[in-house]
């Protein structure tokens, strides 16, 4: 039966499908002739004009043929459930749109020229991708759903077509306004797809109920019933969407814990979370505390110094749009306050655009950060370094007068002892291609800078460039020449001496971690974990494994014992090594693991993250587990 309906709907809309194919043939021809600009324009026309209008046309044709020949009487008298009839027709018509999408993706996939032009459009391959499915395709699907849903109400297809546009535009405006209001209230601005989904569901439900329950022969009654239900469901959607957004975890996975941006500080573990701000595992209370609530939080853009946290917080208003300020909060969660206001004309930071991250001095008394602007004439980024006391006094600034085009600034170290700032920058060629990441040192007093390393690895989502807790050394990976091996180097932050402790053709470093006293560094690379001790200049291999992905490891609070995750015959074990690197303890991990395991060594406790949404604490004495997040 479904097949018959499918064939019927396809047959009735075959012209739109053929038109889409014609569009795609034209796209192929344009791409093959290498007319990049025209291909881009034509693709835009296809995605932004043709697809939504085709979706509206297909949707509005929903019950046209049933009205046209009074065939609804015939159809309703057949032995088929009305809700199934609705669903079969919906799926059948949606499949036309789906096949157009699919052909488009296939053309794009097998036509490198087009793939290159439209590289930001991807086909959703798994469920979570569907929620982030490009708006190019979400909007046509919503438009189709609205027009199909209301096509049960009236027999004139063009009226349905235009009414759908009006309804869609009105709802889009309303929800955008409402989302802006939510953003101001809840610091969250990612709900368009949630509301889009809810709107589509509201129309589907109202349409199915009206179709099943109402008298099709009486337009007035039918319309009233539809209007009643659609308003009801939209109100429910509004409430559910608001709750979801207020909670911040509906569909967004925003409760997810991002272990790679964690900071272990004085026995506690801090971590950033994209949409909620900063959370902290407090060892004393054995609980996770929400420290800072902020929107669009870039997880590595906070810094801890003694008893203070500096972080950036986004805000938005009608005058300045989206902007960000620098805030300070105490590590006990008290005294959250704004330090740098970029939209306050009374401050020297007025209209400054903050770039990169910030750093607190080890004593928490001073903070340093960057602001920048692109010079439109020279096309070179002009960057200003600002440093000041965390009570707002002692504001200093220096304009970094780089002669070449640098971008992606990331502050790495700012030891109090020298007053020098170390940061990584990405050098771009005149054609804006990446040349290399440089590690540079800026003498803030002398106003000079020097390149310390020409080509360093700087993926800050991994801990592969780490300052020791004593601020004496910086561990990093460096390649001094493209044909040479990669080197794991310790940079003495006082003397700027470089010490190579390990070399490999490809370092494949997962992470490195310093002991609390700054005398030992453990690093995991490729399939092995090694420890280097500064005092005796010794490099020891602690473990070897059969697979090449990251494992969790960290020093315990005493700085002598090392905790390490090691697989054994398919099971995962936490193993604790003593000062002599002999195994002292082995505990089987009883929880399912998704991807890598992250681990933080504390005072006789270990904190572990097996999946993105939870955090477990293991007491090494009692071997008892506790879920703390």
């Amino acid at each position: 039966m479904f097949l018959k309906i499918l064939l019927k709907e396809w047959r009735e809309n075959i012209l739109i499908f053929l038109l889409a194919i014609l569009f795609m043939i034209a796209l192929v021809v344009l791409t093959l002739t290498d007319l990049r600009e025209m291909t881009l324009n034509f693709s835009g026309m296809f995605l932004l004009l043709f697809l939504p209008f085709a979706a509206l046309l297909i949707g509005s044709s929903g019950f046209y043929s049933e009205f046209k020949d009074n065939a609804w009487i015939y159809l309703f008298s057949r032995p088929i459930k009305k809700e199934l009839l609705w669903l079969f027709k919906y799926i059948s018509l949606l499949s036309i749109l789906g096949v157009i999408f699919l052909i488009f993706f296939l053309v794009k996939q097998f036509l490198p020229g087009l793939d290159d032009v439209l590289n930001d459009i991807k086909f959703p391959s798994e469920f979570r991708d569907i929620l982030s499915f490009s708006l190019y395709f979400v909007i046509p699907i919503i438009a189709f759903t609205i027009s199909f849903s209301i096509s049960i109400l009236y027999d004139k297809q063009f009226i349905i077509f235009f009414v759908s546009i009006l309804i869609g535009a009105a709802l889009a405006l309303f929800f955008q306004g409402y989302l802006f209001f939510l953003y101001m209230t809840y610091y969250y601005y990612g709900g368009f797809r949630i509301f889009g989904l809810f709107i589509a569901l509201s129309f589907i439900l109202a349409s199915v109920i009206t179709f099943v329950k109402s008298d099709f022969s009486q337009m007035g009654r039918k319309f009233l019933m539809f209007a009643k239900f659609v308003i009801l469901f939209i109100v429910i959607s509004l409430a559910l969407g608001t709750i979801g957004i207020a909670r911040g975890d509906l569909f967004t996975g925003s409760k997810a814990f991002y272990p790679y941006y964690s900071v272990k500080h004085e026995g506690d573990v801090y971590a950033g979370n994209f949409s909620r701000g900063i959370v902290c595992y407090k060892a004393e209370s054995d609980k996770v505390k929400k420290m800072v609530l902020t929107s669009d939080f870039m997880s590595n853009r906070y810094s801890i110094g003694r008893d203070k946290i500096a972080f950036f917080k986004y805000a938005r208003n009608t005058r300045y749009g989206r902007y960000e300020d620098l805030w300070i909060i105490n590590t006990d969660g008290s005294e959250e306050r704004i330090l740098v206001e970029t939209v306050n004309p009374a401050t020297p930071f007025y209209k400054c655009s903050i770039w990169g991250n910030c750093l607190l001095s080890p004593d928490g008394g001073r903070v340093i950060f960057l602001t920048g602007v692109k010079n439109r004439k020279s096309n070179i980024n002009e960057v200003t370094v600002w440093w000041m006391n965390t009570d707002g006094t002692g504001i200093n600034k220096k304009i970094l007068d780089f002669p070449i085009n640098y971008t992606n600034f990331h502050l790495v170290a700012w030891p109090s002892s020298t007053g020098n700032l170390i940061l990584t920058i990405e050098e771009k060629s005149p054609t804006f291609k990446k040349v290399a990441d440089r590690l540079i040192l800026i003498d803030l007093e002398e106003e000079t800078y020097q390149v310390l390393f020409d080509d360093v690895r700087s993926e800050f989502y991994r801990k592969i460039m780490e300052v020791s807790p004593t601020y004496n050394h910086l561990g990093l990976v460096w390649r001094d020449h493209p044909e040479n091996k990669e080197k794991l180097v310790l940079l003495d932050l006082k003397t700027l001496d470089k010490k190579v402790i390990f070399e490999a053709e490809r370092m494949r470093l997962w992470a490195m971690k310093w002991s609390q006293d700054g005398e030992k560094i453990v690093f995991s690379r490729a399939r092995e974990t090694l420890v280097y001790t500064l005092t005796d200049n010794m490099l020891r291999k602690v473990s070897k494994r059969d697979y090449g992905y990251e494992v969790g490891f960290d020093w315990l609070a005493d700085g002598k014992r090392l905790a390490l995750i090691i697989p054994d015959y398919g099971d995962l074990y936490l193993r604790v090594f003593g000062e002599d690197f002999k195994e002292e303890k082995r505990v089987k991990i009883p929880y399912p693991v998704e991807g890598s395991v992250y681990l933080w060594g504390l005072d006789n406790k270990v904190l572990m993250n097996f999946n993105r949404r939870s955090l477990f604490r293991l007491d090494l004495e009692t071997e008892k587990w506790k879920k703390v997040y």
Binding site: N70, I73, Y74, R78, P79, I80, S217
Partner: protein, 291 residues
């Protein structure tokens, strides 16, 4: 009782217009039920409610003693329905329509469908929009017959048809079906054509059945009486069951239902000079009751 369809207190309005009001009906299995009524009396509305096409405002419908709701669909597998208008998808070919319907009915008989296509000289490749009204009726009938229904509902199917087609349809197909035990509800306003077919007769007026009788008994018990008397008959005839009455001085013509010996005695007591008792055909019965 061997009931196939029972309707209790069925009501339906369109806007302010009340079309059916507390409508009741019982149909027995294997009978042909003629439903008569002038246009706009609610015959089509009643049938559409039985078929689940439109919902009733109130009341209940039972098919084979099982209550059916507006959302039910299973019972429709056992009901064939031919509507007044040509309500197919006009772009479909005959073959496509048959194939479309075959997917709905588990008892679909393709062999029978092909036989009737041949019998009615219909080309399967012909588009429905190219069919005449009579051909569409034949196609509807083929769909219905191929689904092998237990119960057939015909909503004024022959209106607008030419005489030979109507004759074919009524005499050959409907008779054949009724003889094979299929229950038929035949709604029409062309009265005389169902006279030789129906077992029961219902007349719909003002949203309700004003007559619901076994047709053969009805024919025996409804009579036209023609009286002539020496005296004026004005205000003299007083008895129940007078359906229509025309008095012109000493002459009177009336239709009486039911005609009984007691009523005959009442008339004879008036000592008429002449009394003629005539039977009525279906058209006359309908006119008498519907007027």
């Amino acid at each position: 009782m061997n009931e196939i369809l029972t309707i209790k207190y069925l009501s339906k309005s369109f806007g302010k217009k009340r079309v059916l009001e507390n409508f009741n009906l019982i149909m027995e299995k294997g009978k042909v039920y003629g439903l008569l009524g002038i246009n706009g009396e609610g015959k089509t509305t009643l049938i559409r409610m039985i078929m689940g096409v439109i919902p009733p405002d109130n009341g209940e419908i039972f098919f084979k003693n099982k209550k059916i709701s507006f959302r039910d669909d299973a019972y429709k597998k056992e009901i064939g329905f031919i509507a007044e208008e040509s309500i197919f998808y006009s772009w479909m070919s005959i073959k496509e329509l048959l194939s479309f319907n075959a997917s709905f009915y588990p008892k679909w008989n393709t062999r029978k469908a092909n036989e009737y296509l041949e019998k009615f000289s219909l080309d399967p490749k012909t588009k429905i929009r190219h069919l005449s009204r009579g051909m569409k009726l034949k196609l509807g009938l083929i769909v219905t017959l191929a689904s092998e229904p237990e119960f057939l509902i015909l909503d004024d199917p022959t209106s607008g048809l030419d005489v030979p087609t109507r004759h074919d349809f009524l005499k050959e197909i409907i008779k054949e079906l009724s003889e094979s035990g299929t229950t038929i509800l035949f709604s029409t306003h062309i009265v005389h054509e169902i006279e030789g077919i129906i077992d029961n007769l219902g007349i719909l007026k003002f949203g309700n059945l004003i007559l619901d009788e076994d047709f053969h008994e009805l024919k025996n018990s409804v009579k036209r009486i023609l009286l002539t008397s020496e005296e004026s008959l004005e205000d003299k005839i007083k008895m129940e069951g007078i359906i229509t009455q025309k008095i012109n001085g000493s002459q009177c013509e009336m239709v009486v239902f039911p005609w009984t010996e007691e009523k005959k005695q009442v008339i004879e007591n008036l000592k008429p000079t002449s009394m003629e008792i005539k039977p009525l055909n279906l058209e006359e019965i309908f006119i008498s009751f519907a007027s």
